[in-house]
């Protein structure tokens, strides 16, 4: 293993940090990337392309990464599990060192990261793309033990498979109840696509069953398009209750599979899916880059922490509105950050930031919808380009919906190839 400048300095003791810059010729700059999902794996890959001389290490606990995008299609029976998981051979072939461990701690002052296997790595730049963690207990009655009875399935993995197993075990005529959390959450259209895919499964296997969405919000992403599609494909199967109609859930009882609203209405479910309140992945707290909101403020031009210089943060963990918390956005942010890091390490001015997003949702087989946006950075903030973006037209015909269903699948194939594909 090569020793980086930072590790040499670490080995020599913190006192030498005051020494002037050590020429890069002595050791390749080391970029450590924490998180092998849409943000992190993209960053590693695009850093490699930007500068073949960099040493790049990717830290990711899972041998195979299960994506949240398309996990709803797995729940609906339209995808098998293998098709939504991806390994790291492509990244290794690209010359990226991949370590399957958990990042436990970050020291931004001495620039090190400590892994679950005890390894301590030095870095010249750190990229954190930790996704979300849950604010366990923020919703009364819902903790990690409760999630084994009433799954969240909001991190793709065993939770998703548990929810699928519960749907399969449910009798025809049962009720699927979903709780949508307060505060910012990963994938704004995700709950409604999930309801659509569960409805598809019920329609084809358990047609007397019902779906109830208890929502903390009064309106939601792509709402008219979803409601139009639900009516067309599922009739009255899906009922949505917004906050002002007593949709806000105050407490859940995972044992009895009940959700209780703030006004005391009890909804009994046969399958209860609780999407809990969220925050940035815990490593962001350890690194000192999360603020009091639980999320990570960044300088939009570089997606670098406003709190700890040298640490770039990507994806769902960040405060990047008007960009949504989507895999597409994490990937777009990673490319901007990679370009900025490579330029900075080479002593060049970073190129201007530019981002885009397209989120497809599948309502039924052959019936897709989308929302898009184009973004730039201005004075440290992400700004949406006015006049661009928006949702699929409400008055479009079945051909348009079919094309967007096909393009949704095309998007998934392309972005996964971009991130985890062969080098």
């Amino acid at each position: 293993m090569k020793t980086t400048r930072r590790e040499m300095l670490l080995a020599m003791g913190a006192g030498v940090l005051a020494l002037p810059y050590v020429a890069r010729a002595q050791a390749a700059a080391h970029v450590v990337v924490v998180g092998g999902g849409f943000g992190g794996a993209t960053a590693a890959r695009y850093l490699r392309r930007a500068d073949p001389g960099l040493r790049i290490t990717l830290i990711e606990p899972q041998q195979r990464f299960a994506t949240c995008p398309f996990s709803n299609l797995y729940l609906g029976g339209l995808r098998d599990w293998g098709s939504i998981t991806h390994g790291y051979d492509g990244l290794r072939a690209a010359g990226i060192e991949v370590i399957h461990a958990r990042a436990e701690d970050v020291d931004g002052a001495v620039r090190s990261v400590t892994l679950s296997d005890g390894t301590r790595l030095g870095w010249d730049r750190l990229v954190l793309s930790p996704g979300i963690d849950f604010r366990w207990g923020a919703l009364a009655g819902y903790d990690e033990a409760a999630a084994e009875l009433a799954p969240h399935a909001w991190k793709a993995g065993p939770q998703t498979q548990l929810l699928r197993a519960q749907l399969e075990a449910m009798e025809d005529g049962g009720s699927f109840v979903m709780v949508v959390p307060e505060g910012a959450f990963r994938c704004p259209p995700g709950p409604y696509e999930r309801a659509s895919m569960v409805a598809h499964y019920f329609k084809t296997h358990k047609p007397r069953s019902k779906i109830l969405i208890l929502d903390s919000q009064d309106k939601f992403s792509k709402q008219p398009l979803f409601q139009q599609g639900w009516q067309a494909h599922y009739g009255e199967m899906i009922e949505w209750i917004g906050q002002s109609d007593d949709g806000l859930v105050a407490e859940v009882d995972a044992g009895t599979r009940e959700a209780v609203t703030v006004f005391g209405t009890r909804h009994k479910a046969d399958v209860l899916n609780v999407i809990p309140p969220q925050k940035a992945g815990v490593i962001a707290e350890r690194a000192g880059v999360a603020d009091q909101t639980g999320w990570v403020p960044v300088v939009a031009e570089r997606f670098e922490s406003t709190l700890v210089p040298g640490i770039h943060v990507l994806g769902d963990a960040t405060i990047a509105a008007p960009m949504p918390k989507s895999g597409f956005c994490a990937n777009a942010q990673a490319k901007v950050a990679a370009a900025a890091i490579a330029a900075d390490l080479a002593g060049r001015e970073p190129p201007p930031a530019s981002f885009a997003n397209t989120c497809y949702s599948l309502i039924a087989p052959g019936w897709g919808i989308s929302v898009a946006g184009v973004y730039r950075a201005r004075d440290g903030k992400v700004v949406e380009v006015e006049g661009a973006g928006g949702v699929s037209p409400l008055d479009a015909g079945p051909e348009f919906r079919r094309a967007e269903a096909d393009y949704g699948a095309g998007w998934y194939a392309s972005i996964c190839a971009d991130i985890w594909g062969a080098a």
């Binding site: 201007p352 981002f355 184009v374 006049g387 998934y412 194939a413």
Partner: protein
């Protein structure tokens, strides 16, 4: 005369700023999100048309038509292209034209 000169200087300055803005590193960043749907380097493995190696003029014309919402077969592309100016669109067309299919 002085007025005209200052306009010319201003125009030259803006031109230089534009040229600088669209250096290869900037175009590469502009092109970054294209891969998310059209595949790595514009080589699509799925249902979305590939864009690598398309002739630059034809590609720019198509993108500008999307931008004017003048392509009846379009779905999401008009909404995306409205976020880019003509210089950026032409630079993107040249960028993907330079990548082998």
């Amino acid at each position: 005369m002085i007025h005209l000169l200052s306009i010319l200087l201003l125009a030259a300055g803006l031109g230089a700023a534009r040229a600088q803005e669209l250096d290869p590193a900037a175009v590469q960043v502009l092109a970054g999100p294209c891969a998310n749907c059209h595949g790595p380097e514009g080589r699509s493995p799925g249902a979305i048309p590939p864009i690598a190696g398309l002739p630059a003029d034809a590609a720019a014309k198509r993108m500008l038509a999307f931008r004017e919402d003048a392509d009846p077969s379009a779905t999401v592309m008009p909404r995306l292209m409205m976020g880019y100016d003509e210089d950026e669109i032409r630079a993107l067309a040249r960028w993907f034209a330079g990548i082998p299919k």
